[in-house]
């Protein structure tokens, strides 16, 4: 697809959360993203799918400026990302990493960290809020006093999701949050994320190579391969009737783990 063409199937209706135009990213001599033009819808649940090395994580990391692209433009709610103060942008666009990192101290300390870092931007997290955040992440209140470092992998993921919510983000970026979890734990986490979307209406953009995760609840699907967009559009349409042969191949290959 050339840069001048229309974005990969602009979602109808509301203005997009993110608008990417001819975005390129490299690491050394390697091209990670090769001219991405894409609108990511506001609201709902977007799944970024594609084989490993397709550039899914590289793309996600651009959206809260953990990295900047080497060329191209990205807008968030109609304004270029560089227009936002970096701290404001990162508070409004939360990020959940593939490998959860717990800060020193208890789960409560973790949930209070963001306010300690940015007192002007982030409201203090009182006990009511701690309970509310734990509930959204599917943890009961007894977790507040647990040492974060002692938790299991799945629990750490939940804490890092709750922690990302402490800044009241409008968008939550998730980088393969279930990759390191066993299927049962992964399922429960996905269920929690679905509840979270329902309760808060937060925009979720999740990288996944497990097709099943995109099938469960995704409203919009972007298929990437070799740094390019193969196909993007309404989830139901792509899952049932992908127009591009590469997407069909990928979806069929993924049937195996679709249980």
């Amino acid at each position: 697809m050339s840069a001048a063409e229309a974005p990969a199937s602009a979602p109808a209706g509301s203005s997009p959360a993110f608008r990417l135009r001819d975005v390129r990213q490299v690491h050394g001599a390697r091209t990670l993203l090769d001219g991405i033009t894409l609108d990511l819808p506001r609201g709902g649940f977007t799944a970024l799918i594609g084989p490993s090395g397709a550039g899914k994580t590289s793309l996600l990391r651009l959206l809260n400026r953990l990295d900047d692209p080497v060329s191209g433009t990205i807008e968030f709610h109609g304004r270029p990302l560089s227009d936002y103060r970096i701290r404001e942008l990162r508070c409004r666009v939360g990020f959940v990493f593939q490998a959860p990192v717990m800060f020193t101290g208890t789960v409560r300390d973790n949930l209070r960290a963001a306010h300690g870092l940015a007192r002007a931007e982030v409201a203090p997290v009182d006990e009511t809020r701690v309970a509310e955040l734990l509930d959204l992440a599917g943890l009961d209140l007894s977790y507040a006093d647990r040492q974060a470092a002692d938790l299991s992998g799945g629990e750490k993921h939940r804490v890092s999701i709750a922690r990302a919510l402490t800044t009241n983000p409008e968008v939550l970026l998730l980088d393969e949050p279930t990759a390191a979890l066993d299927p049962e734990v992964a399922d429960r986490l996905l269920h929690t994320l679905a509840n979270l979307r329902e309760t808060t209406g937060i925009t979720m953009i999740m990288v996944t190579h497990r097709l099943r995760e995109a099938r469960v609840g995704a409203t919009y699907v972007v298929m990437l391969e070799a740094g390019r967009i193969v196909e993007a559009g309404d989830a139901r349409k792509i899952m049932q009737d992908a127009t591009h042969p590469r997407t069909r191949e990928f979806l069929q290959a993924g049937e195996g783990d679709a249980r």
Binding site: A29, R65, D68, R87, R90, V101, L117
Partner: protein, 268 residues
Amino acid sequence: MSADMHPFDISWFQLAAAAALVLVALALSLWQRLGLEKGLVVGAMRATVQLVAVGYLLVWLFEVDRWYLVLAVLAVMVIVATFTAARRQSKSSGERRSIVPIAGLAILAGAGLTLVYVTTVIVHVTPWYNPRYLIPLFGMIVANSMNAAALALERLQSEMEARRGEVEAYLALGATPGQACAEATRRATVAAMIPAVNALAVVGVVSLPGMMTGQILAGADPALAVRYQLVVMFMLTAATAITAAITVQAYRRTFFTPAAQLKPRAPA
């Protein structure tokens, strides 16, 4: 030091006899196959040549008595210390370009400020450039600053590498780069200062400092030698702290972009 107390003279012949002591280490190396023979021989020769040369340089400097020559010697000391501290850390020429100025600034500030304080407030050196005081004092200070800078660089680099995930997790929550790497900088500063703190604790009990020993051997009043040594210990502590703090604060900036992003690892 009073003129009537002459230290016991060491002739060249006696020095050669002392060099025989190295043979003990050499014998051990041969017996245990330590492979240290070359290092010992070359090291002993280098030490001899370097120290004798420095001895003659000092004799000459004391005689010509020019402030600019003294400053030139101090500058050379800072430069050599800078490259020594930076060398271990910089694998590429790009890294060297960023690390050398940091180490240079940190060593110059840490050692320079301490030297100025000691020679103006405490020892009242006259004339201000008196090489008999400035050069030995600065030598001790610079050596400590160099070690502090090298330790701080090495530790911060490894902490930042090990803590990439943590640093990015903080950044993603809206932290500034300084907040995001606070634990790494704290640990690097501690690592750089530990030798100085330990030295304060054990001096006189475990170690008898070389300078004090030397002064006593040279006939000085032990009580005065002790006071000199305390001045030296305190000044080394200050130099270490200043150098460590500047190194860590300046070096940590090189890991981030202006947009508060952790720079990616160098591509393989």
